[in-house]
């Protein structure tokens, strides 16, 4: 994985000292909150419901074991013994003291991490496929391209004050495991008829209050023009994005209002101009970055069969392991969704354990997924049972990937000052309901996503079943959505009708699941059945 060079380290170290001074001035009264707030936000420090919250960037979701240990140490030393992995492949701490924040950033810098650009109207952490570099179906590892975009976008002076926040995702397979088309820019590395690699650009997607699936504006940008084309997309947005209205300031609104054709025309015009300016980094830099993402030293001649005599272990293999490009290996997903648990939360002990397991079983690497789980990308099939046994002992062996209890949930009103309703208790109740009624096994793949407000951090628009918490005259109320998908068959869920109470939404989810079970045909997922039969049978069951 990528290692900081002297410039990376110098920039991050300098930022730590700069923020230390800013914090000192805030505490001694030299800086008022109105002046300090944008400075702390540039360093990922929010003021949330109960305390300061620090969001730490995990570039394209990739961590080594030293970094995971450091995240655990921060949770233990400065927080309350746990961290929360997010849908942006980051980690958040909920109980941070302002006076500790500079020391935390210094601790992060020691393991080549930071919280820069995890807030504010700038280019945020670049996300990617959590199986990058391991998946059997990818063209190339997308992370070198994500990394060069990370370097380009870090402290980019032109893009530090965009109309709104800006999120970029890079993948390299037809299977979308990163919600690529629901980003401001989604990039898919593709191959043309001549066998050359390029980048398909999807621009103007997003969730939030106005969910839009990004249209493809260019099917093939040569990879040696990747940064230039990205910059052209940003320049047009930076010039014309709606700074007058926060709710219309995302690029998706600009692309929608201009129309895909006109936006694309302007980008192409800017791109043609910029090609003459020579802004693209030299190819040598990309090649240098690629050297950090070379395959680990995979063994050959390994067994491709595991001993499946233990049915619990066999179930975990079937549900939580993914096909690897190297024979004898799989990518194993550690579920952070035990029955009744808090989605995405991991204790200090669990983080240390996952760090140790990454070192011992996965070439010192782990990944954070947008579904709030952790992946060990390169595990020998022959050692899977040993790994699973250790996970089981720590409560991390839940075999539920992409099932109804593998719920994405934002922190909601339990932690977030923007939320209108709690998300986590709803996730816990649904998880417990389906564990108790035994239907989870029968349902198969069913992606359920919950947001506590319209900002959609819990990706409710993209859930096969989505839940949106709203405030109805001071009382929590939950709308139900059906038919969303964040995968390559991207779609946006539709609201079923009037909302439900906290307990009512759990019943409603079960009723929707029952409609699926009653109507499904061979091999159909919940989403397939919904798309075939439409909303009416579900409405009938829910409100009839």
């Amino acid at each position: 994985m990528y290692k900081y060079d002297q410039y990376d380290q110098a920039m991050v170290d300098a930022r730590v000292e700069e923020f230390r001074d800013q914090t000192r001035r805030r505490l001694d009264g030299s800086l008022a909150e109105e002046h300090f707030r944008p400075l702390r936000l540039m360093n990922g420090l929010y003021l949330q419901l109960h305390a300061y919250m620090l969001r730490v960037a995990v570039p394209y979701g990739t961590l080594n074991s030293d970094q995971m240990h450091a995240l655990a140490d921060i949770a233990e030393k400065y927080d309350r013994g746990y961290g929360h992995f997010t849908t942006r492949q980051n980690i958040q701490y909920n109980w941070i003291k302002l006076e500790d924040a500079p020391d935390i950033l210094a601790d992060l810098a020691k393991v080549e991490m930071h919280a820069i650009q995890t807030s504010g109207n700038c280019i945020r952490n670049i996300s990617s496929d959590h199986f990058a570099g391991a998946a059997a179906d990818e063209l190339v590892d997308p992370r070198p391209y994500a990394e060069i975009l990370r370097q380009w976008s870090s402290f980019h002076p032109e893009f530090s004050y965009l109309p709104r926040k800006f999120k970029i995702c890079v993948i390299a397979s037809d299977t979308d495991r990163a919600a690529m088309r629901l980003h401001d820019i989604g990039i898919q590395i593709v191959k043309n008829d001549a066998g050359e690699l390029g980048a398909a650009f999807y621009v103007g997607g997003g969730m939030g209050r106005t969910p839009i699936i990004a249209p493809c504006i260019n099917e093939f940008v040569p990879l040696d023009q990747l940064v230039t084309y990205s910059e052209a997309c940003l320049r047009v947005y930076n010039r014309y994005g709606r700074r007058d209205n926060k709710y219309k300031a995302r690029i998706k609104i600009l692309v929608h209002e201009l129309g895909k054709e006109e936006y694309t025309r302007q980008v192409e015009e800017e791109f043609a101009h910029m090609l003459e300016q020579g802004v693209e980094p030299p190819l040598a830099e990309l090649e240098r970055i690629k050297t950090y993402f070379q395959d680990p030293d995979f063994k050959t001649g390994l067994t491709d069969r595991a001993d499946r005599s233990d049915p619990d272990f066999a179930l975990w293999i079937d549900r939580n392991c993914h096909k690897h490009k190297a024979p004898g290996y799989v990518s194993a997903t550690i579920s952070l969704k035990p029955v009744g648990g808090i989605p995405g939360d991991a204790s200090v002990e669990q983080m240390h354990l996952m760090a140790n397991l990454a070192k011992e079983y996965s070439f010192d690497e782990c990944r954070v997924t947008h579904a709030q789980n952790i992946v060990l990308p390169h595990v020998e099939i022959g050692r899977l049972h040993e790994l699973w046994t250790k996970l089981e002992e720590a409560g991390l062996g839940t075999p539920n990937l992409d099932r109804i209890d593998d719920i994405i949930a934002c922190p909601g009103l339990d932690y977030c000052s923007l939320a209108n309703a709690r998300s986590i208790p709803v996730a816990q109740k649904i998880s417990e309901r389906f564990a108790a009624n035994g239907k989870a096994d029968e349902l198969g793949q069913l992606k359920l996503k919950i947001s506590g407000c319209i900002n959609a951090c819990g990706h409710h628009h993209a859930g096969h079943i989505g839940i949106l918490g709203v405030d109805r005259k001071g009382v929590e109320n939950y709308q139900l959505l059906l038919g969303g998908s964040e995968a390559e068959d991207t779609s946006l869920g539709k609201i079923t009708g009037p909302g439900f109470s906290e307990d009512g939404i759990v019943d409603a989810v079960e009723k929707a699941a029952d409609v699926y079970l009653a109507h499904r045909e061979d091999g159909e997922r919940f989403l397939d059945t919904y798309r075939r039969i439409g909303m009416d049978p579900f409405k009938e069951a829910l409100y009839g």
């Binding site: 109960h50 302002l98 932690y415």
Partner: protein, 99 residues
């Protein structure tokens, strides 16, 4: 009644104006009537509170101050999903008035 809340500048902890100082416990909050702006301006300048604001509250049947809106009730005690991290970790029933 109107009460004042904010966060401690150093720690970020939720605090409530008790008439003299900022308390961690909402039960200590006092009705500030029409003095909210004056108190908040003075206290924020003195860095005794960060980002204060006034909210509606009422007294419950036991005479205890309870914020009117659920968001402030969650702030008052802590996350409903982690009773161990609330102000009253040994009294899970304390969450009953929050929701």
């Amino acid at each position: 009644m109107k009460i004042l809340t904010g966060n401690d500048l150093k720690t970020g902890a939720v605090t409530w104006w008790d008439g003299q100082d900022w308390s961690l416990h909402v039960e200590d909050a006092v009705d500030v009537g029409d003095k909210a702006e004056e108190i908040m301006g003075r206290e924020e300048s003195a860095r005794r509170v960060n980002v204060p604001y006034a909210i509606d509250a009422e007294l419950d049947g036991n005479g205890k101050v309870r914020p009117a809106h659920i968001k402030d009730r969650v702030r008052a005690l802590g996350p409903t999903v982690r009773p161990d991290l609330t102000l009253k970790p040994t009294e899970p029933e304390a969450l009953n008035w929050v929701i």
